[in-house]
C-alpha cells in the first residue's frame, strides 16, 4: 500500500482517459450554441455578423488540417457538403483558403467560387470540431457574411434561392404560394383568433404551407392547455431563408414587418415550433438586424417541458414507440438547445428514446438548410439518406425532430429510400399523448 501511495499513477486502457478527465469544460457563449473548449490563453473575442474582411486574422490560422471533417475524438465524418462534393474546396478548410485567397486578391470572385460556398447547409458542424479557438467560435460568421457579399456583388444567391427571395418580397413565403392562403391550415375560423394575447404562436412558412401537421399539432396543444394565445393575422416569412442565402435586405424587411405585427398583439411570449424561425427571432432579429423587443422567444419543446415541470401539462396516453431524436442545426449547434426536446420525448409514456452515434453538437445535418434543398437537391438528399441510415442503426422505428425543415427532409428521404420508416415532430407525439 505504501508503494502505491509513493507512485499514485493512474493505470488506464482508455486512450482518451486524460482527455476526458481534463478536457471537458464548455463555456457557452451568450445566446449561441457554440462552445469555447480551448486551452489556457484567453482568446480574442470577435464581433459577430461582420463582413468577411473582419475575420481575416482568423482565416490565417487555418491550415486546412481537416479536423473540421470529423467528429472530434470520435472520428465519424461530419460535413455533408465535403462528403458529397469531395474536393477540399467543399470543406471548411478549403473554403477558408478560398476566402483568404479572395481577400488577398489571389483569386477572383467567380460563379464557381460562389457556388462552392452555397454548396453548404451552414449546419456549423465543421465549426464545432475545429480546435482553433477563434475558428471554433466564429466560422459560421464568415460563411454567412460571404453570402451577403456574393449577393451584394451580383454573384449570389443561387437561381432557385433568388426566385424564392423574390417570392418572399411579393407573397411573403419561399414556397411560391399565395399569401392569402397562409392560414388555410387553421383548425378554427380566422375570425375567432383574438387580436391581443399573452402569447403569439409564430407558425413559419414551412408549417403553414407544407408541414401543416406540425402547425396543427402545436395549435391544438396550446388550445388544450388553455393558453392565452393567438396567431398573427399577417405573418410573413421570419427571414431565415433569405438571410441564410445572403439576401439580407429581404430578411430584414420581413423581420421588421413581423416585429410590428407581434407588437400589435401585446404578447409577452412568442412560441414557435420551427427551429429556423426560433433562431431568427431569438438571435438574428436582435444580433444581426439590431431590432429591439421585449418579448420572450420560446421553442415549443422548451415551453412544454416547462409546463410539465409545473404540473400544467400531463401526458397520460401511451405512445408505444422506440424513437431516435435528430438535433436540428438551427436550435442545436446554432442556439445550444439539445436537452429540452429529449426531455419532452422522455416525458411521453411509452416512448423509448435511443441516440444516434452522432448526436447533439455532433449531429449530422438533415440536408435542408442554407438554401441547399432548393438549389442542390442531390446534396440535400445525400445528407438526408445518410442520417436516416444512421437512425435505422439504432433500432428505432421512427426518427423525430423539432423542426419542419428536418421533417420535410426526412419525409423525402423516407419516400425515396426507406418507405417503411416513419418521421414525427416531437409536438406530434405530445399531441398523441394528450
Amino acid at each position: 500500500m505504501s508503494e502505491k501511495k509513493k507512485y499514485p499513477y493512474v493505470m488506464t486502457k482508455d486512450p482518451e482517459y486524460y482527455a476526458k478527465k481534463y478536457y471537458v469544460k464548455n463555456i457557452p457563449l451568450p445566446g449561441r450554441g457554440f462552445y469555447k473548449k480551448i486551452v489556457l490563453p484567453t482568446i480574442k473575442d470577435y464581433e459577430r455578423c461582420r463582413e468577411p474582411e473582419y475575420y481575416q486574422e482568423i482565416l490565417k490560422m487555418c491550415i486546412k488540417c481537416g479536423t473540421c471533417r470529423y467528429v472530434y475524438r470520435d472520428w465519424d465524418r461530419i460535413c455533408p457538403s465535403g462528403e458529397y462534393g469531395g474536393f477540399e474546396t467543399y470543406y471548411l478548410g478549403g473554403k477558408n483558403q478560398l476566402l483568404r485567397g479572395l481577400l488577398r486578391g489571389e483569386i477572383k470572385l467567380t460563379d464557381s467560387l460562389v457556388k462552392r460556398f452555397y454548396h453548404c447547409t451552414l449546419c456549423g458542424a465543421c465549426q464545432v470540431q475545429c480546435q482553433i479557438a477563434e475558428i471554433h467560435n466564429n466560422a459560421l460568421e464568415w460563411l454567412e457574411s460571404f453570402r451577403e457579399l456574393a449577393v451584394e456583388k451580383g454573384f449570389g444567391p443561387m437561381p432557385r434561392q433568388k426566385a424564392f427571395g423574390e417570392h418572399i418580397t411579393k407573397e411573403h413565403n419561399p414556397y411560391m404560394e399565395s399569401h392569402a392562403h397562409r392560414l388555410d391550415w387553421l383548425p378554427v375560423p380566422k375570425k375567432k383568433l383574438p387580436k391581443k394575447a399573452d402569447t403569439v404562436f409564430f407558425v413559419g412558412c414551412t408549417s403553414s404551407y407544407r408541414q401543416t401537421n406540425i402547425a396543427k399539432a402545436t395549435f391544438e396543444i396550446l388550445k388544450k392547455l388553455g393558453q392565452n394565445f393567438t396567431v398573427l393575422e399577417d405573418e410573413w416569412c421570419c427571414g431565415s431563408p433569405p438571410q441564410r442565402t445572403g439576401q439580407r435586405k429581404i430578411g430584414e424587411e420581413s423581420a421588421q414587418h413581423n416585429l410590428e405585427e407581434i407588437k400589435k398583439t401585446g404578447a409577452k411570449t412568442v412560441v414557435t415550433s420551427c427551429a429556423g424561425c426560433y433562431r431568427m427571432l431569438k438571435d438574428d432579429w436582435k444580433n444581426r438586424y439590431g431590432l429591439k423587443y421585449g418579448f420572450k422567444v420560446v421553442h415549443t419543446p422548451a415551453l412544454l417541458v416547462d409546463l410539465i415541470k409545473k404540473g400544467q401539462l400531463k401526458l397520460k396516453k401511451k405512445v408505444e414507440m422506440k424513437v431516435t431524436y435528430h438535433d436540428p442545426c438551427h436550435i442545436g449547434r446554432h442556439m445550444g438547445v439539445y436537452e429540452e426536446p429529449r426531455e419532452l420525448l422522455q416525458s411521453i409514456p411509452g416512448v423509448e428514446l435511443v441516440e444516434m452515434p452522432r448526436n447533439r453538437e455532433n449531429s449530422w445535418c438533415c440536408g435542408y438548410g442554407g438554401g441547399v434543398k432548393a438549389d442542390f437537391p442531390d446534396l440535400s438528399l445525400f445528407a438526408t439518406e445518410e442520417r436516416l441510415k444512421e437512425a435505422k442503426t439504432t433500432g428505432a422505428e421512427a426518427i423525430t425532430s423539432a423542426c419542419p425543415f428536418c421533417y420535410r427532409s426526412f419525409l423525402d428521404g423516407i419516400e425515396k429510400s426507406y418507405p417503411e420508416y416513419k418521421v414525427y415532430d416531437v409536438v406530434e407525439l405530445v399531441r398523441m399523448a394528450m
Binding site: 507512485y7 481534463y22 473548449k37 489556457l40 491550415i63 478560398l98 482553433i132
Partner: protein, 505 residues
C-alpha cells in the same frame, strides 16, 4: 498544354471517374496548390484535380498520364511539411481521399489492410469502434492526414519506442506503377494478397516505395501493423537542460526501454512546450520573466528563472498494478540518478489554478489540433526541419539551431523522439512565422536553410526534407547508391511523370 489536348485529357479523366470527380476549376487549382503552412515552400499549380474511388480508376488515370506524359502528383491531405504533394510542374493532382476504406483487420496477425487515402481519423475511428483491443498508435499530425504517406515517409507514433518509425510498420503494399501495372509487396506478393501479415523473407520490394516521395507509383493499399491495447500510465519528465534530458532518455533505453514497459519516449523544449499549450507571448500564465523568451534565448531565460528547458513525456505499459509498481520504481530510480525528475501527470496538473484545470489539454493521444497550438501563435505559419540522428547528435543539433534562431530573435521549438528500443533518435527544430509578414517569412526561410546546413554538417539524415533541401541531401549521399537510385527510378518511371520537381531525382 495546348487547349485541344487539355480538353481531350479532361474528357478522358471525366470518362474514368465521372465529371463530378474531376475539376479544372481555378478554385481547386488554388486550394491544391500547396500545403499553406510552410514559409519556404513555393505554391505550385495543377491543371486537373482528379478524385478516383477505385484502384481500377487509379490505374486508368496513371496510364493516361503516362501515355500523354503528364505530371502526376499524389495527395491525401496535402499537409506535408516538406511540400511533397505540391504540384510543381502542373498536370494531374490525384486526390486519393475517396479511397479511404479499412479493408481488413486481422486480429490474430494484428494488422489492418487499408486503402491509399485512409486518414488517421478513418483508421482510429474504425479500430476504436470495432476492434478496441487493438491500436495503431497516435501520430501528432492532424486527424485528416493520410496513414499511407505517413508510413511511406517514416512518420512516427506513440508506440515508436517499441515499433520504430512507421515505415517499419508496413507489412506490404499494393502499388499502381507509372506504367499502369499493379504490384504487391511483402508476403502478399507471394500469396496473391490472401494475407498481409509481414514483409517477405525472400526478395521484398517494399523499400522501393518507401521514402521516394511518391515518385515510384501510387500506393493503393497498405498493410500496417497493429498492437494490443495495454493498460498504461503517463509520466512527464523534466530536466534543466536538453542535454541532461537526452542523457536521461538514453539511460532509460539502456536499462531496457520497452522491456521496462516504456512505449513512447519523447521530449520538447520549453518553447515548444509553451506553444503546445496554445500560448502566445502576451498570454503566458507564468511569471513575467518567462515572457521574454520570445525575444531572447528562452533556454537561458528558463534557466535564470529556475525553470527547465526539457519537458519529456513517456508512457509505461503493464498488465497489472504490481507489474506497474516494479517498472515505475525502476524508471523513477533511473531518472533520479540521471539528474532529471518525473512529474506524474495528475500531480503536475495540481499545480495549476483550479479554474484552468478543466481546460488544460493533455499530451497523451493528442491529435494535432488538441492544443490549438498549431495555429502557430496566431501567425498561421510553421515549418520544421527534421532529422534521424544518433544519440550523440541530438543535443548538438538542438543547441546549434537554437543559437542561430536567437541571433535573429526567433524562438526555436525543438522536439525529439526515441525510436525502435532506443536504436536511433528523431529530432525536429521548429519555427513559427506570420504568414502575412514578408519580413518574418524571409527570416524564417533563411533560418530553415541554416537548420538544414547544421543537420547536414553534423551528419544527421534529413527527414521529410523540403524540396529545396533535397539537393544538399543528395550531395551527402554515397555516389554509387545515388546512381543506383537514379537508375531504379528511371526503370520504374521511364517518362518521369511521377511527382516531377520533387524529391531527390
Amino acid at each position: 498544354m495546348q487547349e485541344t489536348t487539355h480538353d481531350k485529357i479532361y474528357e478522358i479523366l471525366a470518362s474514368i471517374v465521372g465529371s463530378r470527380r474531376v475539376s479544372v476549376d481555378p478554385e481547386e487549382q488554388y486550394v491544391y496548390r500547396c500545403s499553406c503552412v510552410n514559409a519556404t515552400d513555393k505554391p505550385g499549380r495543377c491543371d486537373y484535380v482528379v478524385m478516383p474511388e477505385t484502384v481500377e480508376e487509379v490505374r486508368h488515370i496513371v496510364q493516361t498520364a503516362n501515355t500523354y506524359k503528364i505530371p502526376l502528383t499524389v495527395s491525401v491531405s496535402q499537409l506535408n511539411y516538406g511540400g511533397v504533394a505540391t504540384p510543381r510542374m502542373g498536370g494531374i493532382l490525384l486526390d486519393l481521399r475517396k479511397l479511404n476504406k479499412v479493408l481488413e483487420v486481422n486480429e490474430d496477425d494484428m494488422y489492418a489492410l487499408i486503402e491509399g487515402g485512409t486518414t488517421w481519423s478513418d483508421l482510429k475511428g474504425y479500430l476504436s469502434k470495432r476492434y478496441p483491443e487493438l491500436v495503431v498508435g497516435t501520430t501528432w499530425s492532424p486527424p485528416a492526414t493520410g496513414v499511407v504517406p505517413c508510413c511511406l515517409e517514416s512518420g512516427f507514433v506513440d508506440l515508436s519506442l517499441i515499433g520504430g518509425n512507421l515505415s517499419e510498420w508496413i507489412n506490404g503494399l499494393e502499388v499502381v506503377l507509372p506504367t499502369g501495372d499493379i504490384v504487391k509487396t511483402g508476403v502478399a506478393a507471394y500469396n496473391g494478397g490472401t494475407y498481409w501479415s509481414s514483409r517477405s523473407p525472400g526478395p521484398d520490394i517494399t523499400g522501393l516505395f518507401v521514402g521516394w516521395v511518391g515518385k515510384m507509383g501510387v500506393v493503393t493499399k497498405l498493410a500496417i501493423r497493429l498492437f494490443p491495447r495495454m493498460p498504461r500510465s503517463y509520466f512527464a519528465l523534466e530536466a534543466d537542460t536538453y542535454r541532461r534530458g537526452v542523457k536521461t532518455q538514453l539511460a532509460l533505453c539502456k536499462a531496457g526501454g520497452p522491456f521496462l514497459g516504456i512505449g513512447d519516449l519523447l521530449a520538447m523544449n520549453a518553447c515548444w512546450n509553451w506553444s503546445d499549450l496554445g500560448m502566445r507571448p502576451a498570454e503566458f500564465p507564468f511569471p513575467d520573466e518567462w515572457k521574454t523568451c520570445f525575444t531572447g534565448d528562452h533556454a537561458l531565460v528558463a534557466e535564470e528563472a529556475g525553470k527547465s528547458d526539457f519537458y519529456g513525456m513517456m508512457n509505461v505499459n503493464a498488465l497489472t498494478e504490481e507489474e506497474m509498481d516494479v517498472k515505475v520504481r525502476k524508471v523513477f530510480e533511473i531518472v533520479k540518478d540521471s539528474g532529471a525528475k518525473i512529474v506524474e501527470w495528475e500531480e503536475g496538473l495540481k499545480g495549476l489554478p483550479p479554474e484552468e484545470i478543466g481546460e488544460v489539454p493533455v499530451y497523451p493521444n493528442m491529435p494535432m489540433q488538441e492544443f490549438g497550438s498549431w495555429n502557430y501563435l496566431g501567425g498561421g505559419g510553421g515549418e520544421w526541419d527534421g532529422a534521424f540522428l544518433p544519440w550523440g547528435l541530438v543535443a548538438d543539433y538542438y543547441e546549434q539551431c537554437r543559437k542561430e534562431a536567437v541571433k535573429v530573435k526567433k524562438h526555436c521549438g525543438f522536439y525529439n523522439r526515441v525510436m525502435a528500443s532506443g536504436h536511433y533518435q528523431y529530432g525536429r527544430s521548429q519555427l513559427w512565422h506570420d504568414k502575412d509578414d514578408p519580413k518574418d517569412v524571409e527570416v524564417a526561410c533563411q533560418l530553415h536553410r541554416k537548420f538544414n546546413e547544421i543537420c547536414i554538417n553534423l551528419g544527421g539524415v534529413r527527414y521529410k526534407p523540403q524540396y529545396w533541401a533535397t539537393e544538399s541531401v543528395s550531395r551527402q549521399m554515397d555516389g554509387v547508391a545515388l546512381k543506383l537510385m537514379h537508375n531504379l527510378r528511371k526503370l520504374i518511371d521511364p517518362n518521369g511523370i511521377m511527382n516531377p520537381g520533387q524529391g531527390y531525382f
